[in-house]
Structure formats: C-alpha cells, structure tokens
C-alpha cells in the first residue's frame, strides 16, 4: 500500500509575539517545525506500512528551507520526499495550494491513501485536505481519531465529532485528515536523519514546470482570496476601572450589574 503524506513547515506559533510598538509579528528567533497534526499523519503512515507494506512519500510545498521538514519526516521513517518549491508558488491561498499539491500528486501517480494533518497552526484553515481530495476526486474523511481496519479496497476509521464520534467506512484510494488523538508521533532516528540529509537522499525538488502547472494558476496570481488588511486585534470597550477598596469597588460593580439587569 503506497501512502502519500502531505506536510507543512510552520513557524511555532505558540512562540509568536507582537512588537508592542508596531503591532507587527516578531519573527526573528522563531523556530520552524513540522506542523503538529502532520506529525500524527506521518506516524499513522508508518504504522500502516508495518501491516500493509508499501512506500511512504512525503510531499511538502514551501520555500527551500522546508526541505528540513521533509528530512525530519524521513528521519521518522518515510521512504521518499518531494519538495514543491518555486517562487511561482508563493503567496498561494488554499485554492492555489490545493491545485499545486493536486498536480504534484497526479504526477506521483500510484497511491492508495493520502494522509494530512487536520489543519496547520499558522493558518488554521483545515481546508487543504478536503480541497486536494476534491481536486483528485477522492472520498475523504476528516478529523480521523482512530484507524480501525484497512483492507485492499476499504478503510474503517473513527471520525471525531463535537459530541462524540462516528465510525466511517471509506472506499480506497481516499484522503484522510488526522487529529492528535490518533497516535503518539515517534522521534526521528539520528541515523535516518543523517541519511536524509545526505546528497543522495531520495528527496526531489519539483518546480512549476515539473508538475506541469501554468504560472497564472499558482501562487498569488492563481489565488481567489486575498488578504487586504492585517491589524492587531482591537477591542472597543472602555475598560472603566472601578476605584476604591474592595468593598466599594464590589458595591459599584454590583450596582452596574443591577442597572443592566444582569442580577
């Protein structure tokens, strides 16, 4: 069973801070990591390979340095890596990104299963998986929390819901997006990591021409949505500070609550 795993290299947003003067993001010193949900997808692929055999190909779209994410995935145990990197891909929204990934997957050809993380922590859109599945005309199951059974033509998974889960049987080939409950990702093995960083490592870099995509379908030009403004979140409230000692302050606040019929 051949599995493709889509991964994204992201800034570790738990570390993101704003410059208090300019309101801009401070990017210096922020580490790039494999998107957390995607690590669970890699782990799931490795587990499946143990029972079904086959090869795991990791695909990532990003700037040249995103090759680190692929190397790390290979350190965990993936067999091959493909980095989609081209200035023409830059500034892509999910429409253009899913097209780029879809084109690349078509070029890879034979696969039985595509795994992705549910969503990336820098964008939090959770759109790419479903959009790639639609581009490739595959059935999909999102929010997968458990893989119960896999056979030649079907897979049975648990799909998490807000108030429980559903068990879904899905025809293969298919695309799944996975969540953290699925497994505990392993750490990369040093030996594998060293191999992945060698010159002869099975990692390919594809540009727009390699996947047969037209420039105006890619990146910013190929996007349908555009960021027209960014701003630091603002809040409209007055923030009236009630003066006085505890008793007085509580008295005033309770008065306000009564005034507004809240108590």
């Amino acid at each position: 069973m051949n599995i493709i795993v889509l991964v994204k290299q992201v800034p570790d947003t738990t570390e993101v801070k704003l410059d208090p003067k300019t309101g801009n993001l401070i990017r210096e010193g922020i580490e790039s990591i494999i998107n957390p949900d995607d690590r669970h997808a890699i782990e799931a692929a490795i587990n499946l390979r143990e029972s079904t055999g086959g090869k795991i190909t990791v695909v990532s779209m990003g700037p040249p340095q995103a090759i680190d994410a692929i190397s790390e995935a290979m350190g965990m145990g993936a067999d091959k890596g493909i980095l989609l990197s081209d200035m023409a891909f830059a500034g892509a929204d999910t429409w253009a990104t899913s097209y780029t990934l879809g084109k690349a997957i078509k070029r890879i050809g034979k696969y039985d299963l595509i795994l992705c993380g549910r969503q990336a922590i820098d964008g939090d859109t959770a759109q790419i998986g479903a959009q790639v599945a639609d581009y490739l005309n595959l059935p999909q199951v999102t929010y997968v929390s458990e893989i119960e059974k896999i056979e030649k033509k079907t897979i049975v998974v648990k799909r998490q819901l807000e108030d429980g889960f559903e068990r879904v049987q899905c025809a293969l080939p298919a695309l799944l997006t996975v969540i953290g409950q699925l497994n505990r990702p392993r750490y990369p093995m040093i030996g594998n990591l060293i191999d992945a960083c060698k010159e002869k490592a099975p990692i390919k870099v594809w540009n727009a021409a390699d996947i047969g995509a037209k420039a105006n379908d890619l990146g910013l030009e190929g996007s349908l949505t555009h960021v027209i403004k960014t701003f630091a979140p603002k809040f409209k409230r007055e923030g009236e500070i009630i003066e006085g000692d505890t008793k007085e302050a509580v008295n005033v606040v309770l008065g306000k609550l009564r005034e507004n019929r809240l108590i």
């Binding site: 947003t13 738990t14 993101v16 993001l25 990017r27 830059a90 500034g91 929204d93 999910t94 429409w95 922590i121 964008g123 939090d124 959770a126 759109q127 998986g129 479903a130 959009q131 599945a133 639609d134 059935p139 999909q140 998490q160 819901l161 807000e162 108030d163 429980g164 889960f165 559903e166 068990r167 879904v168 049987q169 899905c170 025809a171 420039a215 910013l220 349908l224 949505t225 555009h226 960021v227 027209i228 960014t230 979140p233 809040f235 409230r237 007055e238 923030g239 009236e240 500070i241 000692d245 505890t246 509580v250 008295n251 005033v252 606040v253 306000k256 609550l257 009564r258 809240l262 108590i263």
Partner: protein, 396 residues
C-alpha cells in the same frame, strides 16, 4: 510574479512597511527594501503613493458578478436537530442581505427534516432550499457536496456561509473546490464593503496574534465558515418564506463513504455556549482549591465556571470548559474574568460577551482593555466580597 522597489522613486514614507502583512519590508538607507520573507502578495502595491513598488504581474480583471444574488446559509442539522450556528449565521445573513438588498436563503439537507424549514424562516430565511432523501440522512462529504454544488449552479448565489463545525469544515472546502471559488475559514467578523459591495471576511491568523481581512473578488459565491458562538441568532417575527424542494440522486458507490455508527459521548462538564453568565479563572487564581470559589460565584449568579488554557493545563477545569482560541468561543450576557491576564488567544474566545468584568491585581493586564468594568485588586478578596453581598440578597 516578482515585486521590486524602484529606489529612485522611493521617498522612504514607510507606508509599504505598515501595509505588509508578512513584515517583509524594511527601511535601509532611507529606502524600502524587500526581504526574503516576501511572498509577492502585492499588499504594498496599492499603498505606494510614489508608484515605487513595481511588479511584473499583469493586473487581474475582476469579472462582472452583478447577476449573483442572495446570501445563503448552510443550515446544519444532525439527526433532525438544527445546529445553533445555522441560526446564528441566518442572523448575520439578514444584516448582510439588508445591506445588499438581496434575499436570505437557507440550505437544508437530510431525511425527514422538512419540519425544520419553519424554524429557518422564523430566523430570517426568505427561501429554504430543501433536499430530503434517505441517502442524505447522515452527513456525508460527497452526497452533501453534490447537493450544494447543484443548488449553487442552479440558483447562483452571491454569498455562502457555513458554520465552522466538524461538518462545515469538512463540507465547505470540498464545495469551494467543486464550484471553483475561494473560501475563508473561521471568520469572526463579516461585513459588506461599501465601495465594492464585496464580503469582507475577518479572521484571526497566527494563533490569534493578528487579525486578517480577506476578500474574495474573483469568484462567486463568496464563501466563508464562521465559528459557532460568534454571530447572533435573530428572530424575524412574521417572516414569510418559500420552501423550494430540490431533487437529488446519487448512488452509494459514487458517495464512497458509509457511516457505520454515530456514538455520542457523554459530555464531561457543561455547555458553555448556553450559559448566560460565565465566571472564568486563569493563572492568577493560584490553585484548584481556590478555583472552587469561582464555582460558588458562578452558582450564585446562575452561571457556569470556565477557564483559560492555563486553568486547563493545571487541571482546574476540563478541556470542554476552556475558553479561547484553542478552546470554545462564548458570548454570555456576563463574563467575569478572574486572575486572567488576557492573552490574545483567550480574548479571541470571549470578547463577544455582552458585558465583561475583569478582576486582576495587575492594572496593566490586557484583560482590562476588553472589560466594561475592571477591579484592580486581589481576586479572592473581591470574589468573597461579591459572594457575601450576593448571598445577602438584593437589598442593600
């Protein structure tokens, strides 16, 4: 596409630096300089008064969409029960449609659900597009996508909104790809741009550290998902609406997935989305024992207790009671934030509350910026005093 600076034209005004969403321009020797981080997004092009920022990209023509009319809402139902977010979206849709002078329509898919149509009309739908069939009983990606695709192609709406639930976030991207449109996820604000008449979609990015407003100029319908609990449901008394039935057929083989079983897990904890009053605690509460006092205050006010991510990580509350970017969004009548500094991730989940009280010993805590009333002081003293007064009854 590449972007570059004509150094001779640049006067160092820094407009582009402020406009860059990616922080990819800086001033070097008094001139703008584009860094490697640039994604060629083009946000700087429009703001440059000197026309010093140039690009080799051809200007894109915005197609004429004047024939696209109607604000649509996907009315999610599970097992015949309408989800609250659908009604919330109808509330917002009424406002958007009012501005555009267009109609509000709801999409209702399922089996034996036609009775729900009346509720949708009561909450503002002028039209309900109803697809009722056994194959649509449970939500399944391919069958639901096909129905929405057919409806969109037949009736050509201007805007299509869905809740950012586990169903909406599965369906919306699939539909967007299928009908060839852009999609913005998890919006917290929606409005109509007064010049262009387009939908402005605002959402948090980078873990809530930045808000981004996104436009969808090149395709219709303009699609967005919206987090549950952010918009407000709005009854429209006396509203009359049409129910338009849509015929649909698809084979099991085409659908590709089968729901074997739906298992409800007993909710641990409470439903914050329905609470009128929420008393929330953060790091400043100190320990689990003192957190219990917040519960008492919540009880005295007829509300529920909640907390920040720290409160969850410390084990003071279950994850279901965590408010914020990684937890729930809530909008109670009254939100009392106790010992919460007010990190943006937390504020994102509670800033739509009707009234907010903040109690914190640090007067510079950002929570005070979003509070209607703030008390600077020891939260335990304040909470005890409030409890004492509330238990004494309303008379002074």
């Amino acid at each position: 596409m590449t972007i570059w600076i004509e150094v001779d034209l640049c006067n160092g005004c820094k407009r582009c630096i402020r406009a860059c969403p990616y922080d990819a321009i800086e001033l070097r020797d008094g001139k703008a300089y584009i860094l490697d981080r640039c994604t060629s997004c083009g946000a700087c092009l429009e703001v440059c008064k000197e026309k010093a920022i140039q690009t080799d990209a051809e200007p894109r023509v915005i197609p004429d969409f004047s024939d696209r009319k109607g604000v649509w809402v996907f009315a999610e139902q599970r097992n015949g029960k309408l989800s609250q977010v659908g009604l919330e979206l109808l509330g917002k849709a009424q406002e958007l449609a009012g501005t555009l002078n267009q109609q509000v329509s709801a999409l209702l898919l399922g089996y034996q659900i036609s009775g729900i149509s009346d509720i949708l009309i009561k909450y503002g739908a002028d039209n309900v597009y109803l697809a009722e069939r056994k194959t649509l009983k449970d939500y399944r990606t391919n069958s639901y996508t096909k129905v929405v695709e057919e409806l969109v192609n037949q009736y050509r709406p201007n805007i299509l909104l869905m809740g950012a639930t586990h169903i909406g976030r599965d369906l919306a991207p699939r539909v967007s790809r299928r009908v060839g449109v852009g999609l913005t996820a998890d919006c917290t604000e929606l409005s109509i741009d007064s010049d262009e008449g387009i939908l402005l979609q605002t959402r948090p990015a980078f873990g809530g550290n930045v808000m981004a407003t996104i436009a969808n100029r090149y395709s219709r319908p303009q699609m967005a998902t919206v987090r549950p609990g952010v918009m407000e449901a709005l009854e429209k008394p006396g509203n009359k609406g049409n129910v338009i039935r849509h015929k649909f057929s698809m084979t099991e083989k085409e659908i590709g997935t089968k729901v074997l079983e739906i298992v409800k897990e007993k909710k641990k904890g409470v439903d914050l989305s329905k609470a009128k009053v929420i008393v929330a605690g953060g790091r400043g509460v100190g320990d689990a024992g003192r957190f219990k006092v917040l519960k008492k205050l919540a009880n005295a006010l007829g509300g529920e207790v909640a907390g920040t991510r720290v409160a969850f990580e410390e084990g003071w509350i279950p994850v279901s009671q965590q408010v914020g970017q990684t937890g729930q969004s809530v909008r109670p009548e009254l939100y009392i934030a106790c010992g919460i500094s007010g990190a943006i991730q937390h504020r994102a989940g509670m800033m739509n509350s009707r009234y907010i009280i903040a109690i914190n010993k640090d007067p510079r805590a950002p929570i005070f910026q979003v509070a209607d009333w703030g008390i600077v002081g020891d939260l335990h003293e304040v909470v005890h005093e409030m409890l004492r007064r509330l238990n004494k009854g309303p008379s002074k």
